[in-house]
Point group: C2
């Protein structure tokens, strides 16, 4: 099967609050939005923020909890962008989980929780190639 | 900022059990693996399965719980592939949450939980364009 992810959907409790984090914080533009979901066109996949109750109903999973045991990473172009990005996201409803520092496996990273407590890793990793469309290729 | 996601990292408790779901179930090939993480090169981003304790330590988030309020979607090329894919994943350690049926917003979808209770939506949606590299473009 194609190694392909089409959407990451995050359950959110307040669309406007979540939208502020992604639009004002990351500076991203929605590609579609209505009263229960906002979609962002990412690098060959979609990010969806969907009202939590609707996601729970659709997936027939009423017992969703937070914070979930997962994280999503966004890579920045320079090391200098990293802490700046964490700070901007914190000003837009995020909560910094970890200030930027260097993990043993290389690069630099910090973590911020979005307003619904979903963890985002903000990373700088020169070994991973990222093209103009944002497509990311694994490297060591 | 670039509308870009570089990695989705799922916390897992048993790497071999998780690997079976992704390698035998989805038929995906790892691009890197060691004793604590397996990476899969996806459509312009990485899927990582990382030991849960390591992810919790890295993100400074000891209170992660499951099942998290999120889902990841994989789109199949035909409607016929859908239930077949759910069934294969169930044979490889997954648990079907919802059998394939048609939501009001179009297309067809079902849900399966991976061995660590992370929800995957398996979808068929002819309105979303998917190219040979698996890059997905939003459509209505």
């Amino acid at each position: 099967m194609q190694q392909q992810i089409s959407v990451i959907t995050l359950g959110v409790s307040d669309l406007a609050r979540s939208r502020k984090f992604y639009v004002a914080g990351f500076g991203w533009a929605p590609v579609f939005e209505n009263a229960e979901v906002v979609f962002y066109q990412m690098n060959g996949l979609m990010l969806g923020t969907w009202l939590e109750a609707a996601l729970a109903k659709d997936s027939q999973r009423p017992n969703q909890t937070k914070p979930g045991a997962f994280s999503i990473a966004h890579n920045v172009p320079t090391r200098e962008d990293l802490q700046k990005t964490l700070n901007t996201l914190a000003l837009c409803g995020g909560r910094i989980l970890r200030m930027a520092d260097d993990p043993p496996h290389g690069g630099t990273r910090g973590y911020v929780a979005d307003p619904d407590d979903h963890a985002w890793e903000i990373a700088w990793n020169p070994a991973w190639k990222i093209d103009a469309q944002g497509h990311v290729t694994f490297g060591i």
